[in-house]
């Protein structure tokens, strides 16, 4: 966007305010947005743990037992607890933002936002139910 925005000899003497690095503390909605962005670190954390788990699984039963023992250390439990809270915040905020990105039309009418949010919750429940079933199957 460089065209036409530069100074000319007849240009007014502009005053430009600088944006503070603390701009996200200026309003609660900005702070909530930054918090939502930060929760992606927790998503990355879970992904890395899962990759670590897969590697342990490939290396055999002993490596897997070692991996499991490490996970049970108090620090890891605490970290997982914090990451879980962040992931829940991450997922729930994104569920509620989903209708913004989707303009679905059925029979010539727009699907209401609440229906799209509800679909996300239903899919989450179904996926969680499947995982629980896998874990409890024996």
């Amino acid at each position: 966007m460089s065209e036409g925005t530069g100074h000319t000899p007849f240009h007014p003497k502009w005053y430009r305010r600088r944006v503070s690095v603390w701009w996200w503390l200026e309003s609660w909605t900005y702070a909530r947005f930054v918090l939502r962005e930060i929760t992606s670190v927790a998503v990355a954390f879970f992904a890395l743990v899962m990759l670590w788990q897969l590697r342990a699984l490939a290396e055999g039963p002993e490596a897997y037992a070692r991996f499991f023992a490490r996970l049970q250390s108090p620090w890891f439990l605490l970290l997982h607890g914090v990451a879980l809270v962040f992931i829940l915040y991450h997922s729930l905020t994104w569920f509620h933002l989903a209708p913004k990105a989707m303009s679905l039309r059925l029979g010539g009418r727009r699907v209401p936002d609440a229906a799209i949010v509800a679909m996300n919750y239903l899919m989450w429940l179904a996926a969680s139910g499947f995982v629980v079933w896998l874990a409890l199957r024996g």
Binding site: M1, E3, Y15, Y30, F33, L97, K100, A101, M102
Partner: protein
């Protein structure tokens, strides 16, 4: 109800100030007065040197946008009674270069707006004798919401991404691109998608969502941008799978 209310108005007179200052004015408080009425009172009765823009007084022209108590507002729709007991802080729109007092320079925005080609583009115009391009109420309904934009740029003043990255093409320009791309008479949706896929386009948006909250006309630029991102991703994926068909 108070008899008067104080206004703290930002002043910037480039001929003898290097940074903006604040000036206090006391104006009569009336239940049916908006901030713009108070500014007009100051201009007429107290201080003729105050500069600001306004025109229609009824939320149609989009000229009187300012920051009122730190929030981007049309001053013709911001009632003094909502700010009792005051004082009411009136400043020029955030993130735009200030020319004088409450007047900001919108040149950048106008370039951005033009860049998305906000007009109907046909590959080939049909001959006049074939008549007008007709549209069903459903087709109208599909884009109407986005056509309500009055270019008041409140959405830019609400957008921290624009504040940090002034090159971002911004919410209103993208919403207006969506308005024309959704129009059944238009045939340049792909062209606009490519313009918005550039570095300064829709991918700069991090989905803060303040643009939609600031919009006085219910346009929802936030939704338009996310839908553009989805369309861009789908188009990229298609061109990866079927390079010829996506053209």
């Amino acid at each position: 109800m108070p008899e008067t209310i104080q206004l703290e108005v930002a002043r910037y007179r480039p001929e003898n100030e290097s940074t903006p200052t604040t000036q206090r004015y006391e104006v009569p408080f009336r239940k049916d007065w908006v901030v713009l009425d108070a500014l007009n009172y100051i201009k007429d009765r107290l201080d003729g040197s105050l500069s600001y823009r306004w025109s229609c007084r009824m939320g149609v022209c989009g000229s009187c946008s300012m920051m009122v108590n730190g929030k981007p507002k049309l001053t013709c729709a911001a009632f003094l009674s909502d700010f009792v007991p005051g004082p009411v802080r009136v400043e020029p729109l955030s993130y735009f270069p200030i020319v004088r007092d409450l007047v900001v320079d919108l040149t950048e925005f106008l370039y951005k707006l033009k860049k998305v080609k906000p007009w109907i583009i046909r590959e080939e115009e049909k001959p006049l004798e074939e008549g007008e391009y007709r549209q069903t109420p459903e087709q109208l309904d599909h884009y109407k919401q986005f056509s309500m934009c009055i270019n008041c740029v409140l959405c830019y003043a609400a957008c921290p991404v624009y504040g940090l990255e002034g090159s971002f093409i911004g919410p209103a320009a993208i919403a207006l691109a969506e308005r024309y791309s959704r129009d059944s008479r238009d045939q340049a949706a792909l062209e606009r998608l490519e313009i918005l896929s550039e570095e300064d386009g829709m991918w700069q948006c991090t989905f803060v969502g303040e643009c939609t909250k600031a919009c006085p006309k219910g346009v929802d630029p936030e939704g338009a941008i996310q839908q553009y991102k989805l369309a861009g991703a789908v188009h990229w994926f298609k061109s990866l799978l079927l390079p010829k068909a996506a053209k």
